[in-house]
Symmetry: C2
């Protein structure tokens, strides 16, 4: 099997690469080739004996998608996107990368399908940003998509294209609406959602973290391990079971900030909790008010997608995967 990962240099892309190498195969066949693509050249992965191509290509440049599809990968993970804040700041770049790039990819596959019947599996990462306030809790699978950001709009449009191109038989697509990934490894970043990770990750290693919202803010989370798990499951599952609606809200953990802090207390004690400094930020509070509190995810659960059950588990995953098992 030849696997193409577009957006391979990002956090999820790197973890996905490592997981695929560890599993060795997809759809009961060994992986013999990996093509890893991102706007910065991905690192050569460790522990893989097959053929590897790494490339710094920008999917949003006309012609790049055709090159990637020229080698006819069997499974394509399309993770490439600019993030919400950047898509909001730079309208044209957001549409170019998150919409045009996706459409170039889908059209390159469509044309290849017309040439020789090529019909790969396409696993696309969408986002809970496709949902926009006012939102019920939990959000049912058949709730309408009314994104309130350009990023969410671009993801929702890509979902519609994925369903239509799949229905027309050009490829076998599946869209995965990722919850907010928590605890993100690495350093604190400036994403508006960064605090959800910061208030756990930093206190666990004895560092201070800033909490800009109140404890009753409820949001929808999954661990990096589960996020990668969805994608691997999507690559392996029987897609005939999915039916014509190809985009799925994933299972996850709905928790308030207060519940996150309670879980931190159970693992790291009062000492860790005391490292959270409350610095209210009106702008972040306003943004977060429109974010998804949680999904029913009945369809995805019935299709075998899984996540953690609570924040204790999410913290334990972080400790196992990022801190060598110890705090």
């Amino acid at each position: 099997m030849h696997i193409l990962i577009i957006g391979a240099a990002g956090m999820v892309g790197r973890k996905l690469t490592a997981r695929l190498i560890a599993e060795g195969g997809v759809l009961d066949k060994p992986i013999d080739k990996l093509t890893l693509v991102d706007v910065v050249k991905p690192d050569h992965p460790e522990g893989f004996s097959g053929s590897v191509v790494t490339s710094d290509a920008d999917l949003s440049m006309p012609g790049e998608a055709e090159k990637l599809i020229g080698s006819r990968p069997d499974v394509i993970f399309h993770l490439a996107a600019i993030v919400s804040a950047e898509a909001e700041l730079d309208f044209e770049k957001g549409y170019r990368v998150n919409l045009d790039g996706t459409r170039y990819l889908f059209d390159a596959i469509r044309l290849a399908n017309g040439e020789d019947g090529y019909r790969p599996r396409v696993v696309f990462t969408s986002s809970i940003a496709v949902a926009g306030a006012p939102l019920p809790f939990p959000i049912p699978d058949d709730f309408h998509l009314t994104p309130l950001t350009s990023y969410g709009t671009q993801k929702a449009i890509s979902e519609l294209l994925l369903s239509d191109y799949t229905r027309r038989g050009f490829f076998e697509g599946i869209g995965i609406r990722l919850p907010t990934v928590c605890i993100r490894p690495g350093k604190p970043n400036k994403a508006a959602s960064g605090f959800f990770s910061n208030i756990l990750r930093e206190p666990l290693i004895g560092q201070e973290a800033i909490l800009p919202v109140s404890d009753d803010v409820r949001h929808w989370h999954t661990s990096p391990r589960s996020a990668v798990g969805y994608l691997v499951h999507a690559a392996n599952m029987d897609l005939d079971r999915v039916g014509p609606h190809r985009n799925l809200s994933m299972p996850g953990v709905s928790a308030t900030v207060g519940e996150q802090i309670d879980a931190l207390r159970r693992v790291g004690g009062e000492r860790a909790v005391n490292l959270i400094r409350r610095v209210p930020d009106e702008m972040i509070m306003r943004m977060v008010a429109g974010w998804a509190p949680g999904f029913e995810a009945k369809r995805a659960t019935a299709l075998g997608f899984t996540a953690e059950k609570n924040f204790d588990e999410i913290i334990r995953v972080h400790i196992e995967d990022e801190l060598g098992g110890c705090v």
Copy 2:
């Protein structure tokens, strides 16, 4: 006021032009200029004393949208599209006309907005084809959009763009999801939905009509007069009341084919009903099974959009508007 109608040569476009001329104004200001555009040059309208420009332009050709926006129309009606069957047969043409054409228009307005703050009102005709089976009855306003045709996908994507461009302040958009327009005037055509009109229009003038589905098929209808009424209301209403979700399912008449025939009997008697010939068509039956049975349309109704209450009214409108008031 300068009004631009894109798709002015079609049935709805011609009736809209006539209605706007009859009303004389939009937003309490007189209409002094009409620009009427379609892929075939629209007829010069009757009874209008202001300036008229008619043009055969194809919005899906790069550069055409900029030309149309160059004259800075105050209100833009975007009705141009290829129909469902054609979009299904010709994939590339459907995306080019129904998606790229719409995006060219929206981007031309966005760039003009950046130049001089131009911010017109944009009334866009969407379709109930954005909804896809399995569908509840009635379909609530917050039900997800899962189109099962390329046409429906293109309309749903255009709706998302309309909301995002409006949110960003480039224009004031409103999307109108038209029910199936019934009774369509003119000759029977080959559209799969044509029979809904044919079985009323033809018997009313003593002609035979073919019914390819069973009497219990339920669908969602509006008269041509009401369809134009939605657009005129959308051009005049206070858009601040709409909020961030800019696309509205319109009120309409939900009726089974049997109920349509009962209404025909009340107007034209058994003689008219006997002109309906039942010729079951498996393909049309399969298609129709996925179509919308009816919408709640609570938001649109609260915002002042109106339609007929039943098929007796729809037939009366047809007799008044198309048959000079007599059968």
